[in-house]
């Protein structure tokens, strides 16, 4: 079984001057390709820090992180940017769309930062439209984020996360701001992506959401406390 991401004894310390906060204290975990994982835990347990490290937004203080066969724990800032662009798709709790852009332009944003900076071709444009259609926004292409509901905005974010065909999709409480009906739609979309073979790692603290994933990781005090359905 091929691993999408492999973490070995990852530690993350924050130097706050007077004290050193150890947000992660040695996390070792493997994510096989096609996995659908929920990371759970109380606030301060280190789950967000773990997600940031997985997404290449930060570097671990110690440890080794293999992503798609590359060790990314010691990369430079520019190389990390490239990893984020090519191998990671982000979905955030608060959607994080760019307000002055339309739906289609928001989906295109990662394409602007592709290596070599090629121009956006009509093929790229069609891919964006296909993705928008797939998440059910074919008739909203020229709307701006403020004209959309929360569920629709999150679907734009999912389409954007898919545009560069990443190895892993990282979702930080993707349904946290949504009502249960919309939550259901988003979860179905994510399940659909996972069924296509995409690896999805999701931070959540809702049991109902976590229950729909294949695997749950419970974190406590910067360490993995257990796996399986919580409370399990």
């Amino acid at each position: 079984m091929k691993l999408a991401a492999d973490l070995k004894n990852i530690q993350k310390h924050y130097d706050l001057g007077a004290v050193i906060v150890k947000a992660l204290r040695g996390v070792t975990v493997e994510f096989p390709e096609g996995d659908f994982v929920a990371i759970m835990g109380a606030s301060g347990s280190g789950k967000s820090t773990l997600l940031n490290l997985l997404g290449g937004l930060d570097r671990p203080t110690y440890g080794e992180y293999i992503l798609g066969g590359h060790d990314v724990s010691q990369l430079t800032d520019d190389e990390l940017s490239r990893i984020r662009n090519q191998m990671i798709g982000f979905i955030f709790q608060s959607y994080n769309l760019i307000p002055q852009y339309t739906v289609i332009e928001n989906i295109e944003v990662p394409l602007h930062y592709r290596p070599g900076y090629p121009a956006i071709s009509s093929k790229d444009r069609n891919r964006c439209i296909d993705l928008a259609t797939k998440v059910g926004l074919a008739d909203r292409l020229d709307h701006r984020p403020y004209q959309l509901s929360g569920g629709q905005q999150q679907r734009v974010a999912i389409a954007r996360a898919m545009v560069n065909d990443p190895e892993i999709i990282l979702a930080d409480e993707p349904t946290g701001n949504l009502d249960s009906a919309t939550e259901e739609e988003i979860m179905q979309l994510l399940e659909g992506l996972n069924n296509e073979g995409r690896t999805i790692i999701m931070v959540t603290h809702e049991n109902l959401v976590a229950r729909r994933t294949k695997r749950q990781i419970y974190m406590k005090d910067g360490l993995i406390a257990g796996e399986g359905i919580f409370p399990g």
Partner: protein, 446 residues
């Protein structure tokens, strides 16, 4: 390339989000660029005027004038009550006959005089001169004719008067054919010259000349009727001056001969006058070169004053860009998460600043091109609304009338270049601070 076009479009989009803010920020640069161009235009106009004045003196002319020696020099010599100085008729003959490069010479004798017609009197300048005086001083006739060779030869009692003399002595009557009285004699008026702008004083060597209060008579008539000796009566004393010629204007064959000829003249006069410093040699061509240097200094000073306002505009841009960066922290975080490198963020904000300052620069250049028209507008406004009640030529109106800005075309790309440069200079810091942000913090920013 595609990336740049894309980034420019992106920048325009972001700037259009805050139209008023972008517009006001741009205004700083607009006025900065405009004032650089306008200031240089004023400087250029002033120097063009100076050059025109020098050229009116004639680039191929050399002017030799009499200079009254310092009073103290002869005070102990009580026997000579009569102060005798200046150029001699023999100097004139010597210069015109012995120097081959000199093609023409005009001897001039002039005094201050009161002129009379019936009950009207006016003070002016009486000049004895020759036929060529008209041409060399760019004078034109409105009525009658100028002095001729035969007037000279027969020492005729004829006079040509200037416009202001004609106006005040004859009002609406035609002066030609009438007689003007001065120094006890009557002179028949044969012509009137057109109004001419007064020439300004150039340095300390040549005093300004108002051609509109002149009366011209043949030089020989002057010598015979008035003579070389002029008495001045003052309370308690009187003094006399004896001067043969006040000025000799010499025309040289071509421009290249001017400087060497001037040297020869200085040498010749040095021999005949000895150490008596009672003459001066003025070379308009030399003055022209001085005027060029002066223009450079003038432009640098005015330009740097205007450049200060450009810097103020640049600070305005930096201020707004810093605010924009803070405001868009979250957008920066999103872009970083989606794969933007630090460089990409720097380029994005820098281009935004350059678009802002560049657009301001273009508008400023367009406004700068309008400078001469703006001045006409100010002139009209001042005349119409501020001075409509007061009569006569106002001082303010005159200042604006005399200023004729000329847009220096080299200043347009210069000012535009500076405005873009200011955009880069003042945009670098905000752009760098945007790029240096921690993406995780930026994403969390509300």
């Amino acid at each position: 390339m595609f990336q740049t076009i894309r980034t420019i479009r992106l920048a325009l989009k972001s700037l259009m989000l805050h139209k008023l803010r972008s517009g006001l920020t741009m205004l700083g640069i607009v006025f900065g660029v405009f004032s650089v161009i306008a200031m240089l235009a004023i400087g250029e106009g002033a120097s063009a005027q100076a050059q025109k004045q020098v050229l009116e003196l004639g680039a191929t002319n050399i002017i030799v004038t009499s200079v009254k020696p310092p009073q103290g020099a002869k005070k102990d010599d009580a026997s000579t009550r009569v102060l005798s100085y200046g150029l001699l008729r023999s100097d004139y003959d010597l210069l015109t006959s012995n120097i081959p490069t000199i093609t023409k010479g005009i001897p001039i004798r002039e005094i201050a005089q009161e002129f009379r017609y019936l009950d009207n009197t006016i003070h002016g300048r009486l000049a004895g001169c020759t036929t060529d005086y008209l041409e060399v001083n760019h004078l034109e006739m409105t009525r009658g004719r100028f002095l001729t060779e035969s007037d000279q030869k027969y020492m005729m009692n004829v006079a040509v008067i200037a416009s202001e003399i004609a106006e005040s002595l004859f009002q609406y009557n035609d002066p030609v054919g009438k007689s003007i009285q001065f120094n006890g004699d009557y002179y028949k008026i044969i012509g009137v010259t057109r109004r001419r702008t007064a020439s300004a004083a150039i340095g300390g060597s040549l005093s300004g000349q108002d051609y509109n209060k002149d009366v011209y008579i043949p030089l020989k008539t002057f010598q015979v009727r008035i003579g070389d000796l002029i008495f001045q009566r003052q309370t308690g004393s009187f003094s006399a001056e004896e001067v043969e010629l006040n000025q000799i204007t010499l025309q040289v064959r071509n421009k290249d001969d001017v400087i060497p000829t001037a040297d020869v003249i200085r040498e010749t006069l040095g021999q005949t006058h000895g150490d008596k410093q009672d003459y001066a040699v003025v070379v308009p061509l030399e003055l022209l070169k001085q005027a060029d240097q002066l223009r450079l200094i003038f432009n640098v000073v005015l330009g740097s004053i205007a450049a200060i306002s450009l810097i103020v505009g640049g600070i305005g841009i930096m201020n707004i860009m810093l605010a924009t960066v803070t405001e868009r922290t979250r957008e920066i975080g999103i872009r970083r998460a989606l794969g933007a490198r630090q460089r990409d963020i720097i380029v994005q904000f820098l281009i935004e600043t350059i678009v802002l300052s560049g657009t301001g620069g273009v508008i400023g250049v367009l406004m700068g091109l309008m400078t001469p028209y703006t001045f006409i507008g100010i002139k009209l406004f001042v005349d119409k609304f501020i001075l409509n009640k007061s009569k006569g030529v106002s001082e303010v109106g005159r200042i604006f009338t005399e200023m004729e800005p000329q847009v220096a075309y080299w200043s347009l790309p210069l000012a535009f270049g500076i405005s873009v440069g200011i955009g880069i200079l003042f945009g670098i810091y905000p752009a760098r601070s945007a790029a240096k942000m921690d993406p995780i913090e930026a994403l969390r920013h509300e």
